[in-house]
């Protein structure tokens, strides 16, 4: 494939991509008749919670003095972090797939599968299970359902050669429609007053509780950070991770090294699916306390941008998820305050993908040159890049 997607960690170039995208966003706002400065200011305030001027409401913390007084809106910040939580999981899902050379566009469907399974298991037990056991069971249900939904495209790729880009996209549509069918039929909320397409509420023992009152920020964020470290360790330090990277580097070489390529493909896709499935479970446990239609939003697709901007490594994907979570929450705030459509965030995301894509391509070109000059292995190359 032209310019294989390779891991990279160019922070400067990632920032440049984000900068370009934000400038383009400002130009679009200006051209379409909005005040770009107040739009960007609202975007920033919604994204970070930081704003100039003294506090105007409860839950805002003042800082600075005199003309440099500002305040932090804890709720806005918490909501941005809450948005980042599923994004970090889906971003890791896409990144893990890409490490094995597989383009997992199916995090969306895997997240839906995980959320639905979590809602079912979360509703079971009726509060008789000890809290921690129930939480763990719900998380496992989400991970397993996501893994199953991810493994099937992996199996189709490994055994039948069906390209995962097409099959995972089809699986997304299947998941969306099947989930909607289930929550309007067999799994529908039994409460006759509730007409919305949703399941029954899960038991309180399966709830994750908000850290900031009224917000969606829960311990899910901690789990996501742990997952990021876990994935990074897996990819870098374990033999399973070595096999995944080897397959991602090239099928011929991996086969020559005695690696079972089909097995690695299926395992990588199952693991990627499990990560996205946990994202769904956490949305159920911490935000909606049931499965509601549209719960997955566009988190799965956004995971692609998160993974690419993050250069496929743990730290990068974490920072990238924090950025896109803040962008998404900020855009909603911006729409409320200045009427600029939140679709602007989608445009920013697309431009970031395209800018970062150029970066990745250049790097892979550099890699080819290096490989031609010396018989280098990946570690050597990574050291070289780390040294810059």
């Amino acid at each position: 494939m032209t310019g294989a997607v390779t891991p990279g960690s160019g922070l400067a170039r990632a920032l440049l991509s984000v900068g370009i995208a934000l400038v383009v966003a400002a130009v679009i706002m200006h051209l379409s008749g909005y005040d770009a400065l107040s739009g960007l200011a609202a975007l920033w305030a919604g994204a970070t919670g930081l704003r100039a001027g003294p506090p105007q409401a409860d839950g805002q913390i003042a800082f600075g003095a005199g003309p440099f007084t500002g305040h932090l809106d804890v709720y806005n910040l918490a909501q941005s972090l809450a948005r980042s939580t599923p994004l970090l999981f889906t971003g890791l899902s896409v990144a893990l797939g890409l490490r094995a050379g597989l383009f997992n566009i199916g995090a969306q469907g895997q997240m839906i599968a995980g959320a639905l399974a979590a809602a079912v298991i979360g509703g079971a037990g009726g509060g008789t299970l000890p809290g921690p056991v129930h939480l763990l069971l719900v998380l496992c249900a989400g991970a397993l359902a996501g893994a199953a939904w991810g493994a099937v495209p992996g199996i189709l790729r490994a055994t039948r050669g069906v390209h995962e880009v097409i099959s995972t996209i089809l699986f997304n549509y299947l998941a969306t429609n099947l989930a909607t069918y289930l929550v309007t039929h067999g799994l529908k909320d039994p409460d006759p007053r509730k007409m919305a397409p949703q399941t029954a509420a899960i038991a309180p023992t399966a709830h994750l509780h908000p850290w900031v009152a009224g917000s969606n920020l829960t311990a899910g964020l901690l789990l996501a950070l742990v997952a990021a470290m876990g994935v990074a360790c897996l990819v870098r330090r374990t033999s399973a991770g070595f096999q995944i990277r080897a397959v991602g580097q090239g099928l011929e070489a991996a086969r020559a090294a005695g690696i079972s390529v089909p097995g690695v493909m299926v395992r990588a896709m199952a693991l990627a699916g499990a990560l996205a499935g946990v994202a769904g479970a956490i949305e159920v446990m911490g935000v909606h306390h049931r499965y509601v239609q549209g719960l997955a939003g566009t988190y799965g697709f956004d995971g692609i941008a998160v993974a690419l901007l993050g250069g496929l490594n743990g730290m990068g994907v974490t920072l990238s998820a924090l950025f896109f979570g803040a962008l998404s929450n900020g855009a909603e705030f911006m729409e409320l305050e200045t009427n600029v459509p939140r679709a602007l965030a989608v445009i920013v995301q697309a431009i970031v993908i395209l800018c970062v894509g150029v970066r990745l391509a250049r790097r892979s070109l550099a890699r080819q040159v290096v490989a031609a000059v010396q018989d280098s292995d990946e570690d050597l190359l990574e050291e070289e890049h780390a040294g810059r």
């Binding site: 032209t2 039948r160 549509y173 690419l308 989608v346 993908i353 391509a361």
Partner: protein, 293 residues
């Protein structure tokens, strides 16, 4: 979709199949052109969306302007995909997804600014696009196999190095192929907004670009094969809509099989089944996705 009261169910299903297949055929032919030249084109989805938007927007003044605008937008976005993948050497899947996301975001943003709630356009008769979908597969076949351009295009998709030895520059040819591919996909979009819906709605392409791409693989990268694949998938779209219109209900094993949500799965499920059964025997162009200098 025209469903006359006097027509038999089978006849209206056939008509519905042809109209459902129309955008898929157009987009699939775009996919064939691009991929036979060696460029993976997952941007089809975004191109359809852009074509639909520009068709609706420019079509407000005069339908012919809508058509021209959609063609121009498709060509420009196709050119962008060619530039990103061939000149900047970006991964074609990244470029395609980025372009699709860009089209999705820009059309959503502008639709809020430019279109009134519930606006309608006169548009163009669906028969026009249907005619194109019936003729263009054969035109594409002739172009690919009987013209110098077509022979060179396939050579570049199979073996760019030999093509270069024979004095054909691969990159300009790929630019041309992807640009034409963009025009065809945008026509598919123009059909959706100008003839089918007579309006524009966000993400109205609804995965048709990806289905078209599956039809290309199903039809083994051959213009007629891909069109037949598109017809096959169009049939299941038609079955789904006809069943919904007819109001028939089938309950079996406690499942409401005629629920719109399950019927919506049908085209995707059949696409998947077709890929699983055919892919092992389908050989893509040898240099598909390969870089050229």
């Amino acid at each position: 979709m025209p469903v006359g009261s006097g027509e038999t169910w089978a006849l209206s299903l056939m008509v519905a199949t042809l109209y459902s297949a129309t955008p898929l055929v157009l987009a699939a032919l775009g996919g064939v052109l691009s991929e036979r030249a060696g460029v993976i084109n997952i941007a089809l989805e975004g191109l359809i969306l852009a074509g639909a938007f520009v068709g609706a927007w420019a079509g407000q003044s005069a339908p012919i302007m809508g058509l021209a605008g959609a063609v121009l937008a498709g060509a420009l976005i196709g050119l962008l995909h060619a530039f990103l993948t061939q000149t900047l050497r970006m991964n074609p899947v990244v470029s395609g997804l980025g372009i699709t996301l860009l089209a999705s975001g820009v059309t959503r943003y502008l639709a809020l600014r430019w279109f009134e709630q519930g606006f309608r356009i006169d548009g163009l008769p669906g028969g026009l696009f249907l005619g194109l979908a019936l003729i263009l597969p054969f035109v594409t076949l002739l172009v690919l196999h009987r013209t110098r351009f077509g022979v060179r295009l396939r050579a570049v998709g199979e073996n760019p190095e030999s093509a270069r030895m024979a004095g054909v520059a691969p990159v300009p040819l790929r630019y041309l192929a992807v640009t034409l591919s963009g025009v065809l996909a945008a026509l598919a979009g123009a059909y959706l907004s100008m003839s089918d819906a007579h309006t524009f709605s966000s993400n109205m392409s609804a995965g048709k670009g990806y289905i078209a791409l599956a039809a290309v693989i199903f039809g083994k990268w051959h213009p007629l094969g891909a069109s037949l694949g598109a017809l096959f998938f169009g049939f299941f779209y038609a079955v789904q809509t006809q069943l919904q219109i007819s109001g028939v209900q089938v309950h079996w094993l406690g499942v409401e099989w005629t629920s719109p949500f399950l019927l919506d799965c049908l085209p995707y499920l059949m696409t998947l089944a077709a890929l699983v059964s055919v892919v092992g025997r389908a050989v893509p162009p040898a240099a598909l996705g390969k870089e050229v200098e």
